[in-house]
Amino acid sequence: MCVSKSYSVYLAYYLSHNIFPEGKPLDFAFIGGFNFSFALLVAPFATLMTRLYGVRAPMFLGVVLLPSGFIGASFASKVWQLYLSQGICVGLGVGLIYIPATAIIPQWFSKKRSLANGICSAGSGIGGLIICFSTQAMLNSVGLVWSLRITALVVFFINLVATLLIRSRNKEIQPDQRMFNFRLLGSYQVKLLLSWSFVMMFGYITLMFSLSDYALAIGSSNSESATVAAILNLGAAFGRPLIGYASDRWGRVEVAGILTFTCGILVFVLWMPTTLYSVLLVFAFISGAILGVFWAVSCQSVLHIQNLQVTDIPRR
């Protein structure tokens, strides 16, 4: 999920064209980080809004906030304005759209839940690739200001249509929508699941963020190392639905265990010994596919602790 690069396309542009002379590189990194942190921090509020006004209310708010952030950024002339617009506003928008939406799929799917989640999470890889390349092209042709505004427009319409398509089954199942259900933390299964996610994240982040750097380290060019990141994305896009299908069929814990173990082995036998770019590409594709296991398998359990009927949570 973290490999797509639209913001870093802007980041590179801000830095190389000296758009915000008083902004330090660290400022721009923080603004990107704000996207993630505010998207996740808004979760309790999004859940509260869902409970009070239904699942589409927070999503519509996000559909407006997300493009507003980009429009705001197109008018920004100071770094703090960029913090507010492309940092906080965009982050809040993402969280308000994404968090209520994640609770919907498990309401519709039980046996095919991992497959459905896998297909959904493949969207972030594909969307990331599309946005990354189109942003780069727009920056070159129409410039910064209009590429931000066009992005805002496209993002607004696609998310609006997607929000209108989504329908919750809250009326049918009346889920538990407490912001946090602390009692769940007491259960052994949930503790194990959270520990697994925690440990898994070490491997996930390490791979995601260092693979293309490694490409540079073995002497590949910048564009080759960008290709490694793209192949990782592509692997994720193919792998997630497949892993989802396998999990539904052979059990989620079993598939997750076997795949993460395989990935661990591959790190030692494929990644570490190699200094060949081609082998690295193969490794990027396979590990990209395997790493999706976290989103295909665990997300459905972890995220829905917040927003799903309690009787439905600890699916294996």
């Binding site: 490999v3 994404y98 493949a122 009787t311």
Partner: protein, 62 residues
């Protein structure tokens, strides 16, 4: 779902029943696939838009 036969566990004073097969059991398809399509686009055009990959930035900084 494998071995969901008698799956329930207790936590505090609440018991969570893992196989509630009343009206709430998911249809596993139907309009659900439209929701999958919606969620696919949402993932693509929320996370896809913002997600930070610092590669290019790092190249510039170094």
């Amino acid at each position: 779902m494998r071995n969901s036969a008698s799956a329930s566990f207790e936590s505090g004073d609440e018991t969570f029943d893992l196989n509630s097969n009343d009206v709430s059991s998911p249809p596993d398809g139907g309009y659900g696939w439209v929701c999958v399509l919606g969620q696919f686009f949402i993932n693509g055009f929320t996370w896809g838009v913002v997600a930070v990959r610092c590669q290019r930035a790092k190249n510039l900084l170094n």
